[in-house]
């Protein structure tokens, strides 16, 4: 069983469809919502962590394509600009999941995007605007 972090972009005519329910029921996937913005009759998105069999996941992607839901890798929405980052660590004290951490020996900042929940606190804490979340 593999886990995938993706963002589903809904057009305004599918926001009233039971998409997440279908992913769980029909494709037997475990869906955990990381972040979402869905309003009736408006464009929206849901960032999900999906776990399940590869075969089911692939079929689910086909279903999402049929429903005209654009699927994007979650990672692409969170950017750490390494040129702008000075390794100061101002972000680290705010990161609630430990995605941003200081190496205790080198004092360098590491970013583990698989732990990031796009809360965007780091984008506020960073004095150099090195962290960017596009949600």
């Amino acid at each position: 069983m593999n886990s995938h972090r993706i963002v589903l972009h809904f057009s305004n005519d599918v926001t009233n469809q039971p998409i997440i329910y279908t992913l769980c029921q029909k494709y037997n996937l475990i869906c955990s919502i990381i972040k979402a913005s869905i309003e009736p009759n408006q464009e929206g998105y849901v960032a999900l962590e999906i776990s399940g069999e590869d075969k089911n996941y692939d079929q689910a992607l086909e279903y999402l394509k049929e429903m005209k839901i654009r699927v994007e890798d979650f990672k692409r929405r969170i950017i750490r600009n390494e040129e702008k980052c000075t390794d100061c660590g101002a972000c680290v004290g705010f990161c609630p999941t430990g995605a941003l951490a200081i190496d205790i020996d080198t004092r360098k900042i590491s970013f583990n995007d698989s732990k990031c929940v796009a809360c965007s606190l780091c984008t506020r804490a960073c004095p150099f605007k090195a962290m960017q979340t596009n949600f």
Partner: protein, 400 residues
């Protein structure tokens, strides 16, 4: 055994000087002992990289045809106001300057995306900036306005002048109130939700020469990736604060005013800062070489993060009120760097505002310059006011 700076410079010229960083010296002295190490090591390089708000650049534009006198007029670079209180074409821009149309904290917390610090970074990076200026016109300087694009290469002198940098120790900030606050030391969550610190600790220049026995006016330094000099003591230089048995001040103490040619410097060590809810600033890389003239000077450079204690100050209450009050607690840099301190029995996450990685890079770069013979030490022209000076910081008296 005493050495002189001249003798050390002879060794630098001959490629024989032994140069180590303020981090490396700790282990070397521990292994070889102070006496042996003082003989063996010639220079210890220090470094710091952090937000230094009293930074500025002054520059000479050259004269336009027809001439314009900006002294007494108004000028902006990329919309950020420059100071026009000098002669015809000498302008100065400070790191905290903001465009007139910046919303500041009208919607709190303000983002402060672009200000003087960013102008300085763009200048050093060689980017094109827009100059807009207005003057009142005189018989000899008839022009009343100018709009033009320029880069650092179009300017005559471009000088970084920072009136207070490289603080010797500094407050650790926390917040006891029930709301998040936005400070120059970062966001502070309510109920001691976090703590922020800013000194490079054991690598920091003035913590390695706590009584300013080698650093003085005229000391040649690494400044923003180029060569600069200590111009004077910095503003708010406060050498008479209490010190521990190793001479380390227990709070903010000495400061440096530094100067250097911006044209030699690099964007890598001069970076515009946007502090949420606070303003813009400039992060500056500074490194000071310490000549190991004797065992005493060496011993000061062996200071470790565990020896440096800093006061944790409540930026939600006592700091903004400027109320004399005992610190919330005192912690060492070793504790701060562990990522967690204890305040009133509560575990509190810490985060630095200055980059130790960059501070180390500064110390390493300075070390390589000296090793390559590109950088010789200077003999200070005059000492900085020391712990015996009796200096007392004055608060502003309000009279009416």
């Amino acid at each position: 055994m005493e050495k002189t700076i001249e003798e050390i410079n002879e060794k630098i010229k001959a490629g024989k000087a032994v140069v180590v960083t303020a981090e490396e010296i700790i282990g070397i002295a521990k292994e070889k002992g102070l006496k042996e190490t003082a003989k063996h090591v010639d220079v210890v390089t220090t470094g710091t990289f952090g937000t230094m708000c009293s930074s500025s650049v002054y520059f000479n534009l050259g004269h336009a045809s027809p001439r314009i006198k900006l002294g007494g007029g108004k000028a902006t670079l990329n919309g950020v106001p420059a100071y026009c209180g000098f002669a015809a074409v000498d302008l100065m821009i400070g790191a905290n300057a903001l465009p007139d149309d910046d919303p500041r904290n009208r919607i709190h917390p303000g983002e402060f995306r672009y200000g003087g610090g960013h102008v300085i970074e763009d200048l050093v990076a060689g980017k094109t900036l827009h100059l807009s200026a207005q003057a009142y016109g005189t018989d000899c300087y008839p022009r009343k306005s100018i709009e033009t694009d320029l880069t650092i290469d179009d300017l005559n002198e471009v000088v970084l002048f920072n009136m207070r940098n490289a603080y010797q120790n500094y407050n650790v900030a926390t917040n006891s109130t029930d709301k998040t606050i936005y400070t120059y030391l970062g966001m502070l969550k309510p109920h001691y939700g976090n703590a922020c610190y800013s000194s490079a600790g054991q690598l920091s220049p003035l913590l390695n020469d706590p009584y300013y026995k080698t650093i003085g006016i005229g000391t040649r330094i690494f400044l923003g990736g180029g060569i600069g000099y200590v111009a004077w003591n910095g503003t708010q230089h406060n050498p008479c604060v209490p010190r521990n048995e190793k001479g380390v001040p227990t709070g903010g103490a000495g400061t440096l005013a530094v100067i250097g040619d911006l044209k030699q410097m690099s964007q890598q060590y001069l970076r515009g800062v946007s502090a949420l809810g606070y303003g813009t600033s400039l992060a500056v890389g500074i490194g000071v070489p310490i000549p190991i003239l004797n065992e005493e000077i060496l011993e000061y450079t062996t200071v470790t993060d565990a020896d440096i204690s800093a006061a944790v100050i409540d930026y939600g209450t006592n700091y903004p009120a400027n109320r004399p009050a005992p610190p919330v607690t005192n912690v060492t840099y070793a504790e701060l760097k562990s990522g967690e301190i204890t305040i009133e029995g509560k575990k509190v996450k810490t985060s630095p505002m200055s980059s130790y990685v960059k501070a180390k890079e500064v110390a390493e770069t300075l070390k390589s310059w000296i090793n390559e013979g590109k950088f010789e030490l200077s003999v200070p022209s005059a000492p900085l006011p020391g712990a015996e000076s009796g200096i007392q910081m004055k608060a502003l008296k309000e009279r009416r």
